[in-house]
């Protein structure tokens, strides 16, 4: 079986880069996995660079009030470098940094926060951007939400919270306990909620990509089925026409069938129903099923076909159903002609005892050598032209066969009309 294409591999937005601008113009990133990752990158960049921009105006004041200005500047520079590196790298990659790289980022943030009590004046540690460490820690926590591994994320969050506890404890003389606890809760709550949101966003994007892949696969299969339905009978007729031992009568019949099948193939290639290319076809309303069956059976007069349509006389079906039944019958009778070795084929139509009739059952039985349905994969004719195509038109199909015991195909559908009686919509 062929491998199903994965849209995620083919998405044009796998690397956001400059395309970010096209999102802005186009209303946001695409709703794919790659798009979701890009959106997370934007969030990370916003948190990191935004924090940096907010802290920048307070840098001179922080340096001047710091008890260790050189260390203060070093810490600030390290934080700025880390934020810029994380942002630029994430942007270029199109998705967040690896867990390993983020662990390094977290470790650096922990060190910067732990050095805070020595580099920031006590009165600046809480509630001002001179004490930039809590704000910086929060930005790192927000960029951590993109981590893949839950355990690493939890360890990182714990480390930052612990470092922040240490930092805030050093400022307990200048800030109330509620302020300190509030700051801690902010880090924890935003970290947890942010990570939950990112996980959910990734799941939605995964499902969306999966749904697109399935839809694409279904469309491909449907097209394949349509091609098989359009081509199968024609291929069988051509195969039979290639038999040099054919008698003239059978050859003439096959040529008629070939013409019919050629029209069907042309209709498929043009994407229109076959009836559009056949001027003799009446598509104005429901068609008498017995006539459809009878006409088709007459095309196979080289076979011994006993046609019993009395019990279904008058039953009309929708034109599309009539065409599907016609094609299915062609396929079945071609199968009989080519494979079954049957002596007698019985085609039987029954509309039941209700009046007006609501359903019909068409049975095609041959006394050929049959096959074991459990041990044989159905060919394109039985699988697509008979079961698939009729099924798509609301006709139930049952195929029964035994090796050396003949084959019975039973089709059951709804009546679309009956002479003088409107039974539209009933079944």
């Amino acid at each position: 079986m062929s491998r199903r294409p994965d849209l995620r591999e083919e998405t044009a937005d796998a690397v956001p880069g400059p395309r970010t601008w096209s999102w802005v113009r186009g209303g946001g990133p695409p709703t794919t996995v790659a798009g979701a990752e890009s959106a997370i990158v934007v969030l990370v960049i916003g948190a990191r660079i935004g924090t940096l921009v907010q802290a920048l105006p307070s840098l001179p004041g922080g340096v001047s009030s710091s008890p260790a200005p050189a260390w203060y500047v070093a810490c600030w520079a390290a934080a700025a470098a880390a934020s810029i590196t994380v942002s630029v790298t994430s942007y270029r990659r199109g998705h967040a940094l690896s867990d390993r790289a983020q662990a390094v980022d977290i470790a650096l943030a922990v060190v910067i926060v732990l050095l805070g009590p020595w580099t920031v004046a006590v009165e600046d540690r809480i509630g001002s951007w001179e004490g930039f460490q809590p704000g910086y820690a929060l930005s790192v926590v927000l960029s951590m939400i993109a981590m893949r591994h839950g355990g690493v994320w939890l360890a990182g969050l714990s480390a930052i919270v612990a470092a922040e506890v240490f930092y805030l404890a050093s400022a307990s003389e200048t800030a109330s306990a509620s302020t300190i606890v509030g700051n801690l809760f902010t880090v924890i709550v935003l970290g947890v909620v942010g990570r939950g949101s990112v996980q959910y966003l990734r799941r939605v994007a995964d499902d969306a990509d999966e749904a697109r892949a399935q839809a694409s696969e279904l469309a491909r299969l449907r097209e394949e089925q349509r091609a098989q339905v359009a081509i199968h009978n024609g291929a069988a007729v051509m195969h039979l026409l290639g038999d040099p031992s054919l008698d003239d009568v059978t050859r003439d019949r096959l040529l008629e069938q070939a013409q019919y099948e050629a029209t069907r193939m042309r209709a498929y290639l043009r994407g229109v129903p076959r009836s559009h290319l056949d001027p003799d076809e009446d598509t104005s309303g429901p068609r008498p099923l017995a006539d459809v069956v009878s006409r088709k059976c007459r095309e196979f007069d080289d076979l011994v076909i006993e046609v019993a349509l009395d019990l279904g006389q008058g039953v009309r079906v929708e034109p599309a159903v009539a065409e599907a039944v016609e094609n299915a019958l062609t396929s079945l009778l071609l199968n009989v002609r080519m494979h079954s070795g049957a002596r007698l084929v019985v085609v039987h139509l029954d509309a039941g005892d209700d009046f007006p009739p609501t359903g019909w059952v068409l049975t095609v039985h041959d006394d050929g050598h049959g096959f074991d349905p459990a041990g044989v994969e159905l060919g394109v004719g039985l699988r697509e032209v008979v079961r698939g195509e009729l099924g798509r038109h609301g006709v139930d199909v049952r195929i029964e066969s035994t090796a050396a015991g003949g084959t019975t195909v039973t089709m059951a559908g709804a009546v679309a009309g009956f002479p003088g009686i409107d039974v539209e919509g009933t079944r």
């Binding site: 009395d310 019985v346 039987h348």
Partner: protein, 236 residues
């Protein structure tokens, strides 16, 4: 008297008369005749008369044929099994109405035809697929109401071409039981056809008045002149 089943052949084709004994060794042919009148004149003992329907030709233009021939053979006390190329179902049904025990198509393979003749010799009604469909139609139109549920199921299956083996699997009955149902069924239908007027059957089948008169025994008038050779199934 031989223990093997015996039959006589009535067929205007010499080849058929002479080849059947060689091709169908399961029974003995104790006589062969080109026309019914010769059979009735000689009246040999036989379990079955294998009877062609089309017996008129240039050497015997006045031969009795068609449904009339069936009726004459049956009236002479024989079991008659029609062996013909005739496929029109109302003509075949008319033969059953005239008392034929069976109808076998000349297109049947030899082995199959031989088996059907043996069934007819054993008293079974042998009917072709076209007649089975007609039987189902008569039953579904409530012309024949004596059928039990099982007989209806067997009839429905046979009308769709199912073999006894296939029916046996779907109805969970042995093939011999199914054959028993079929025997009763065909005897009932045969009786119905013999006892019912053509106009009743016309009504039952939705045919126009008089549509069956050309075929049915006891209803046709003597054809005259050229039409006799054209409508050869008529009574003569």
């Amino acid at each position: 008297m031989s223990e093997r089943p015996t039959a006589v052949v009535v067929d205007d084709a010499t080849v058929i008369r002479q080849s059947i004994p060689a091709l169908m060794p399961a029974f003995d042919i104790v006589g062969s005749y080109p026309r019914v009148e010769a059979l009735i004149a000689e009246r040999p003992h036989a379990d079955l008369v294998i009877l062609d329907l089309h017996l008129v030709n240039s050497t015997q233009p006045s031969a009795r044929q068609g449904v009339a021939a069936v009726r004459a053979v049956v009236a002479a006390g024989y079991r008659a099994c029609v062996y013909s190329q005739e496929e029109r179902r109302f003509v075949l049904a008319a033969c059953l109405a005239a008392g034929a025990t069976g109808i076998v198509s000349k297109s049947e393979p030899v082995e199959s035809a031989q088996s059907m003749f043996l069934d007819a010799m054993a008293g079974q009604i042998v009917v072709p697929q076209a007649i089975i469909s007609l039987m189902e139609l008569l039953v579904r139109r409530n012309c024949i109401t004596i059928l039990g549920e099982r007989q209806r199921q067997v009839l429905a299956g046979r009308a769709r071409g199912l073999t006894y083996a296939e029916l046996s699997r779907s109805l969970f009955l042995s093939e011999s039981t199914l054959r028993g149902y079929w025997r009763e069924l065909t005897l009932g239908v045969s009786r119905y056809l013999q006892e019912t007027t053509p106009s009743d059957i016309e009504r039952a089948l939705g045919l126009g008045p008089g549509d069956l008169l050309d075929f049915w025994p006891g209803s046709a008038t003597e054809p005259a002149g050229d039409s006799a050779s054209r409508d050869w199934w008529h009574l003569r």
